[in-house]
Symmetry: C2
Subunit: 106 residues, 2 copies
């Protein structure tokens, strides 16, 4: 699970339903994770997709400015266009301020 500093920090919750088209999706998704990880203020990312094509990706950021800079990244912007054209049936984005966090492990 993504290590993270003490709250507060930000979470971007991205929930999506994929089309059946692959069309370069996997490579583009991997590339976006690598690019995001190079951005200032990036704290981590967790992503799960089930067999039905529904996925939840949560990325963590230091502040709103870091989120805005990633959204404005030219390659990310271009890939979002492809996402709407080819890869997603629908998605929902929620930007949230993490106020507290705790974990547990065996």
């Amino acid at each position: 699970m993504t290590p993270a500093p003490e709250p507060p920090y930000y979470a971007v919750i991205f929930i999506s339903r994929r089309t059946a088209r692959e069309n370069g999706y996997g490579a583009a998704a991997d590339r976006m994770v690598r690019l995001a990880a190079e951005m200032p203020g990036f704290l981590g990312i967790e992503s799960v997709r089930d067999e039905g094509g529904v996925g939840i990706t949560v990325s963590y950021w230091q502040d709103e400015a870091a989120i805005a800079a990633w959204k404005a990244h030219a390659e990310h912007t271009a890939v979002r266009e492809q996402g709407r054209a080819n890869w997603y049936e629908e998605f929902e984005v929620r930007v949230a301020k993490v106020e507290r966090a705790y974990g547990w492990r065996k």
Copy 2:
């Protein structure tokens, strides 16, 4: 995707890695969703688990008081004990205030 009112509202992001044991997990998880949906201030829930056993569940709540009431629910508390004993290798909980949200669909 879960319908939701205009922000602000709260999200509880629960990320977990399951053990290989079924042991009543599916029925208990379904029951918890039904019980949560009866709680005042419940707004919705989205849940995805991949084949590797990693899952992300995001539940939405009107305010912190609604989250606290659900956490204190007796049956939910008992099931969390079972979760640590049987069903989870590890989990992470993050409570976050959703500040903005937008969606898109074809």
